[in-house]
Symmetry: C2
Subunit: 200 residues, 2 copies
């Protein structure tokens, strides 16, 4: 990548100067609304990685899972080691597994009440709304109510929303949106089954 050491030194010095200029201008603190969306793998795992980081800072984390129903998931088990994590699994399984729209809507409504409770509790520094995007996309929750709650939260609370098909209005409101694309995902076609530590 670099022609020689002098070239390397020149390029890295320029990057360092740019980085330091940016840091010097950045003085605000602000609770961020972060969205992980797109068809690739890694949205929920990225949110859990953020939970881990926040826990390491001694921050309290709320997690609401809108779709997953597994009370014994590996993530839940690992996070149960920490007292400052409130992990609520509110889903009733994947929507194409339940095949019951009314039941899914009722589950989403119950999950949203938990979200409101966490958002209004000043102890939480980070609240993760796992798989909220598809729930909004299916119309299982009122989008305007969700956006209003996000807007009106206290100014230092970080929110992370995951799932495919983030609604445009949520993207508009967000401070950071990462889209995960599946560049390559061949192994499922090769007969490799879902494995612990990877898919669940």
């Amino acid at each position: 990548m670099f022609a020689d050491d002098a070239d390397h030194a020149r390029l890295t010095a320029r990057r360092k100067a740019g980085y330091e200029r940016k840091q010097a201008r950045a003085t605000l603190e602000k609770g961020l609304l972060i969205v992980y969306t797109g068809p690739g793998k890694g949205k929920t795992t990225a949110a859990f990685g953020m939970a881990l980081r926040a826990i390491g800072h001694g921050m309290s984390v709320g997690i609401i899972q809108f779709i997953k129903s597994d009370q014994d998931s590996a993530e839940r088990l690992a996070l149960s080691r920490f007292e400052n994590v409130d992990f609520q699994t509110m889903g009733e399984g994947f929507t194409w597994q339940t095949q019951d729209r009314e039941r899914d809507m009722a589950a989403a409504g119950r999950a949203w009440l938990e979200v409101e409770r966490m958002i209004n509790d000043p102890r939480y520094a980070l609240v993760i709304l796992d798989e909220l995007n598809p729930v909004l996309n299916y119309g299982y929750l009122d989008l305007s109510r969700v956006l209003e709650t996000c807007c009106q939260r206290r100014s230092d609370l970080h929110l992370v929303v995951t799932g495919r098909h983030a609604p445009p209005a949520l993207v508009e409101l967000a401070d950071l949106v990462s889209e995960i694309r599946a560049v390559k995902h061949p192994y499922r076609e090769q007969g490799v089954k879902a494995q612990p530590g990877i898919e669940f």
Copy 2:
């Protein structure tokens, strides 16, 4: 999204059938080579989320950080709660901060010896090579040696490689590649500083 309940039922039934067909065909177990790349935020956090999931299954996880040098990072602190995690921070800071190519190459070489140790140790089920991609892109490690080690690992060992600019040959070898795009990342331009739980 759905015209009515019948429409919903039809679509979800079709998805469920497709999902079940795919599951029935998938019978192999295989250690996967997974790559998180791209300019967006979430690559390292997704890898740590995978670590958390593996830990929850009682699997042993090795983590090598090629670039980060912080011995007191929040992730490291949180993961120190688990005995089945071996977390090695081998970097010397970001490369444009050190501005010393020889030192960076020496650090990369030491880190790679740790990787080989973990890969050859049958206790590990998952080894995370955090920020290996930029190290390869800078030419700090011999790519063919890295690829050979990945190829020759035991068949049930999962590897996760993170960082921008994954080399094409690594993408070629990988079982799963997720690219994280920054759809929206405005807050750094608005003077919001790096915050605990978000950037570090």
